[in-house]
Amino acid sequence: MPSAGIETGAARPAQSYWNESWERLRANRIGMAAGILIVVLAAIAIAAPLFSALLTHYLPEAINLDETFAKPGLKHLLGSDEIGRDTLTRLIFGARVSLGVAFLTVLLSTTVGTTVGMLAGYYGGWLDDILMRFVDMVLSIPAIFLFILMSILFRPNPVTLAMIVASVGWGAVARLVRGEVLSVKERDFILATRSIGASDARMMLRHLLPNVLPVLIVAASLGVGQIILVEAALDFLGLGIQPPTPSWGNMLTNSQSYFFRSGFLVGFPGIAIFITVLASNLFGNAVRDAFDPRLKSH
């Protein structure tokens, strides 16, 4: 057939949507740099004891009253605080808390939100009504008061803190996923898939989920940054991770009284938070542009 000959003539490698998106992401230098930075930070956080042993030679909670308010230098690379704890060591261990809580929160809220949004969008009807009214309720709770209450009820450690933040965060994900599912399920291939005898579970997991995944990945990348901010704010208010365990947020709280003694104590945790959140946002935007070049903002 004539048309067939033309088509096979063009020898292109098989290009899936994922491959193409990945190529576009790789071409985005800022986005890739931000992504790599997050990976490096995560690696440092995971290997925190290794870093403190090899690089800083301090323990995060080791007090040394002879070396308080040290300036950045060879002894303390980023200085020390009011009771002589090494700032860099504490920042590295703080990354564990900040990034750990952020990743765990995103994982939890994405899992719950996707499940709820998928069920609501796919089945519709009364199930949709019940689930989405519940989501409306969750989203209308003033989060900060809920966090305060929960922090008083449950002594916050990184895991409970993640659960507390995720208990509100999943609502937005559910709404997002439901919206996507509503639009994807009207497309013809869903009817075609039903016509070959696919079950509801198969429709949702094998056919709808991969089509919803791009928005989920974008939401998750942007979410990491937001949650780092929320977590830092909670720590700052004394509702999150409790000293002496270092987190970027409670290092800020601690240092506010010494702002004029040593600006570094405020500066370094602040910079850490700022850079990480910025990287997360840049990476999230890059991922969004990679998945849908039409959305690209100039």
């Binding site: 067939a4 898939t193 016509s195 079950s199």
Partner: protein, 329 residues
């Protein structure tokens, strides 16, 4: 005559809307015999797609309110959803109007064509892919083995429709429902796809229901034809007879509204006056009477049944049932 493979009996499918209950399929009956190609024609919105979707119980959000769909001695409308899934894609396959959107964009074509065999025959990925590649070759996709790794957006419309047909055939179903399979394609590709469907019908012995609004397609493809209007069958019979001597004024008007190669040079085309009635509020009597050139008083009062008119045809028309002739004005 041989035993019918699929028998639709007095099927009623409705949609509940704000304006009222839409009777999309309003008492439709027909049989499909093994190996034949049955055409269902009618204007947009006459219920031809919904009647086919109802066979597969895919008419959502519509509801089948009454009627039977007999297939292999069981009534499909009574099956559980799980039993119905065993029919879909295994015994009865369906291909759709728009091949551009009927394939999942995130999977390669080989995976998708193999999906019915993985679902119904329990084949592993390797075996399903092998059969998918062989089927892609049989429906005329060149270099099927490498094309199977391509994604839907890398295929043209005609090629995608071939992929859809291949997907429908992997499980060698007994019935293939083709819902306007060529409407979204351009004319030369249409001819290729129709050729392929004819070939499939011969080679696999798959009985085919071909839904279309294109009378030319029916003339070239179908042994028998069903003409639908406002959710009902108004005429049925062997294609040649229906086209040569239509026994329902709607069929007659439809045939007069399309150009013919053998027409006199200046013979005008006659559009059908008026618009199809709202399915929420059908006119009393025969639904076609407001647009009918032959109507008599009775047409506005009583609804005609689908009865034998002439040797081979059935028609739902008071005029022809009483022996009246349909002659052009």
């Amino acid at each position: 005559m041989t035993q019918a493979l699929l028998e639709v009996q007095d099927l009623h499918t409705v949609f509940d809307t704000k304006e009222g209950t839409v009777k999309a399929v309003d008492g439709v009956s027909y049989e499909l015999y093994p190996g034949e190609t049955l055409g269902i024609v009618g204007e947009s919105g006459c219920g031809k797609s919904v009647s086919a979707l109802s066979i597969m119980r895919l008419q959502r959000p519509g509801r089948i309110v009454s009627g039977k769909v007999m297939f292999k001695g069981q009534d499909l409308t009574k099956l559980t959803e799980a039993e119905m899934r065993e029919i879909r894609g295994k015994e009865i396959a369906m291909i759709f109007q728009d091949p551009m959107t009927s394939l999942n964009p995130v999977y390669d074509v080989g995976w998708q064509v193999g999906e019915p065999t993985r679902l119904h025959n329990g084949w592993d990925a390797k075996k399903a892919l092998a059969s998918a590649i062989s089927m892609l070759g049989r429906v005329g996709i060149p270099a099927a083995a490498s094309r199977a790794e391509d994604y839907p957006h890398q295929f043209s419309g005609g090629m995608r429709q071939r992929v859809m047909i291949a997907m429908g055939l992997t499980t060698t179903p007994q019935v293939l429902i083709a819902d306007e399979p060529t409407t979204a394609l351009d004319v030369t590709i249409q001819a290729q796809i129709l050729d392929l469907l004819r070939h499939v019908n011969r080679e696999f012995g798959t009985a085919t229901i071909l839904i279309t609004h294109n009378l030319g397609v029916v003339a070239g493809m179908c042994q028998r034809v069903l003409v639908m209007y406002a959710g009902r069958v108004v005429e049925s019979g062997p294609t040649a007879d229906v086209f040569a001597h239509p026994k329902h004024p709607y069929t007659w008007s439809l045939l007069r509204s399309i150009p013919r190669l053998d027409a006199e040079k200046h013979e005008p085309l006659w559009p059908i006056e008026g618009i199809p009635p709202s399915l929420v509020d059908l006119p009393a009597g025969c639904s076609f009477h407001p647009r009918c050139a032959f109507r008599i008083d009775r047409c506005t009062r009583d609804e005609p049944a689908l009865l034998q008119v002439g040797e081979t045809q059935l028609a739902a028309c008071w005029v022809t049932q009483a022996g009246g002739e349909l002659k052009g004005a």
